[in-house]
């Protein structure tokens, strides 16, 4: 039988720790005093990193993103009822039928609701303060969540609701819904 390793290699990574307390006593014995010491030991916390790259498919919603790269805004419509979703949706929730794409780039649009985020999730913290808005479009039954620019995030007012807005598109597409944003018309 070949010589097999019986000792793990030490690596440079890990924690260099000094004087983590441990009660003194003979090996093989935990007496009452040691027991009490161990039960009161301050918790040991370590860092654990968790990083993943996903390959995310927009699948049947992909044409919506393709449109943004061409400065067009699409919506989904049930051709029978005319019910129209501002967000892409492959099937109508009422009939179960396939939807078709329609172009709403030039539709009259206005702010339905909004907020200014002065704080946020880690990914968006560098962008604070930013304005989130729900946009309503003429002839469209549902809303679109987007970013609003062109108004002062430090002086928000309910008067912004109802304000007419128009879409703008990023020149360098990121293939994200933020490739379109809205500004006051």
């Amino acid at each position: 039988m070949a010589d097999l390793p019986t000792q793990r290699d030490e690596t440079l990574g890990g924690y260099i720790v000094h004087n983590i307390p441990f009660p003194a006593g003979p090996a093989g014995t935990i007496d009452a005093q040691m027991q009490a010491f161990l039960k009161s030991l301050t918790p040991i916390s370590i860092e654990q990193e968790y990083k993943i790259t996903y390959l995310h498919s927009y699948a049947q919603d992909s044409p919506w993103f393709a449109a943004l790269t061409n400065r067009r805004l699409l919506a989904s419509q049930n051709p029978q009822s005319g019910y129209t979703y501002a967000n892409p949706r492959g099937h109508d929730m009422y009939s179960g039928e396939n939807t078709v794409w329609i172009d709403i780039t030039d539709r009259k649009a206005s702010i339905h609701a909004f907020t200014v985020c002065y704080f946020g999730s880690e990914e968006f913290l560098p962008e604070t303060p930013f304005i989130l808005a729900l946009i309503e479009f003429e002839g469209v039954d549902t809303l679109l969540l987007t970013r609003l620019l062109g108004v002062d995030p430090f002086t928000p007012t309910l008067d912004w609701i109802g304000m007419e807005v128009t879409p703008r598109f990023l020149r360098n597409s990121k293939l994200k819904p933020t490739d379109v944003y809205f500004i006051p018309k």
Binding site: N87, E127, L132
Partner: protein, 454 residues
């Protein structure tokens, strides 16, 4: 379905951080309390319990898949049946109802529902990111995923539609924080004023830090039993207070993940499918809603939660509740935001849609005998969140709905004084209570009715 009773419960202290114990051991705090309150020992209960339902929201917070089975194992419940439920912020409420199903169906006679969340393992902004992943990652999250932002958009619409004010929202914060002053389980036990709430740092306009619940580490546990289960526990020496606490109504509703996709239905559709029994039966209210629609209101839009209205109507029907404001003695509802408490008053039919703001300020949902430092026009009618709610107790997501169930059971048992070591929050002669658990931007909502069995 068989009658189901809440026979015991326990809650861990909710805290910003609990590095001293693993999530399993935090659950055990609540579990041990519930068993001890039955006056039986651990091995006896282990022998008598048929199975469990586990509740926790996010695998991200624990960085541990199948954490539920680790709790099951730690509690000594293996190899009994168990499963985990997950439905965002409503996870605890769903868990409670799944345990009810297990007993009501005859599958189990004694079922334990336990839940937890340990949210302190990441920084607050990373926690916000995890929570925001409970929004569509293709279309909503990338725009600026942040739940406080989503709720702030809802409330700007509510303010525009109904003239709701930020001061009315602040009344909710003052009430819930001062209630929690008497609740030793609560994370935040502070006396605030309306000015304090409005002067707190702005998070997402118009919501300040004191309009929003906090992240927590914590656990809760309830024990449900059939009549046979009650008999089995008592035969083994358990002390179950009389009258029993019976679950008389269960309701659930759902709505689209993307709140932008929610419909804006007609008046006729609203009256037929969403109006409460009280609203439908009142000519004056039908006229009130006709005028709202005349002025452009549509339902639910983003200002209302039809999942909550659906869950409430369903639970009321089952429990035989016709006038919730006057027939319920208290409600523990999901106040992740002061604004969502106001929205939920309307969903649960405590007032009509559009009247939530003035209703919050009226005094009807405050506790009697507590000085809030506010000028309240009406006497208390149905205290809402006597415990302090999520805003003050904290919101360890998987535990929250079960915490509500425990506090509600204690209210109906009349044992708040025993458990809180302070009787201030005991609702006098509490016979009927509701608990309300809410996920996402109103995607899953549960309502359960608990009642004293006389």
């Amino acid at each position: 379905m068989r009658p189901v009773y809440v026979v015991s419960g326990g809650v861990s202290k909710f805290a910003k951080s609990r590095p001293d114990k693993t999530f399993q051991a935090i659950v055990k705090e609540a579990y041990d309390y519930a068993i001890a309150d039955l006056s039986i020992d651990f091995p006896t209960f282990t022998h008598l319990v048929d199975g469990s339902v586990a509740s926790y929201f996010s695998d991200h917070f624990t960085r541990q898949l199948m954490a539920g089975i680790m709790v099951q194992d730690y509690l000594g419940l293996c190899p009994k049946p168990g499963h985990r439920v997950e439905g965002g912020g409503a996870t605890g409420g769903l868990c409670f109802q799944e345990a009810w199903k297990s007993v009501a169906s005859g599958h189990m006679d004694v079922c334990v529902a336990y839940g937890f969340e340990t949210m302190s393992h990441v920084e607050t902004w990373k926690g916000n990111e995890f929570i925001a992943l409970a929004s569509d990652v293709s279309f909503d999250y990338p725009v600026g995923g942040f739940y406080s932002g989503y709720y702030a958009m809802m409330v700007t619409r509510h303010m525009k539609e109904y003239d709701t004010t930020v001061e009315q929202m602040a009344y909710v914060s003052v009430k819930n924080h001062i209630n929690a002053y008497h609740n030793p389980y609560a994370q935040k036990r502070n006396r605030y004023t309306v000015e304090d709430v409005r002067n707190a740092p702005m998070v997402a306009w118009p919501l300040t830090r004191l309009d929003i619940c906090v992240m927590s580490d914590g656990a809760a546990c309830t024990i449900l039993a059939s009549e046979e289960g009650v008999h089995r526990l008592e035969s083994a020496g358990a002390n179950i207070p009389r009258p029993l606490v019976k679950i008389t109504g269960i309701g659930r509703g759902t709505d689209a993940m993307r709140m932008a996709d929610r419909p804006h239905v007609s008046y006729d559709d609203f009256m037929e499918n969403y109006a409460t029994e009280q609203e439908r039966n009142s000519e004056e209210t039908r006229e009130y809603y006709a005028q709202l629609w005349e002025h452009g209101t549509r339902y639910p839009g983003v200002h209302s939660f039809r999942a909550g209205r659906t869950a409430g109507n369903m639970a009321y029907r089952m429990a035989g509740i016709h006038d919730p404001l006057h027939e319920l003695d208290f409600i523990e509802l999901h106040d992740a935001y002061t604004s969502s408490e106001i929205q939920t008053y309307e969903d649960l039919g405590l007032c009509r849609y559009g009247e939530g703001g003035p209703f919050a300020q009226s005094g009807k949902v405050f506790m009697p005998g507590i000085d809030y430092g506010l000028d309240l026009a009406s006497a208390p009618v149905c205290p809402v969140n006597p415990s302090g709610g999520l805003i003050a107790c904290g919101h360890p997501v998987g535990a929250t709905g079960l915490m509500q169930a425990v506090f509600a059971a204690w209210q109906i048992q009349g044992t708040i004084g025993k458990h809180f070591k302070d009787s201030t929050l005991q609702v006098k002669d509490a016979r009927h209570g509701a608990i309300h658990s809410h996920a996402g931007t109103g995607t899953y909502v549960t309502v359960s009715i608990l009642a004293r069995e006389d």
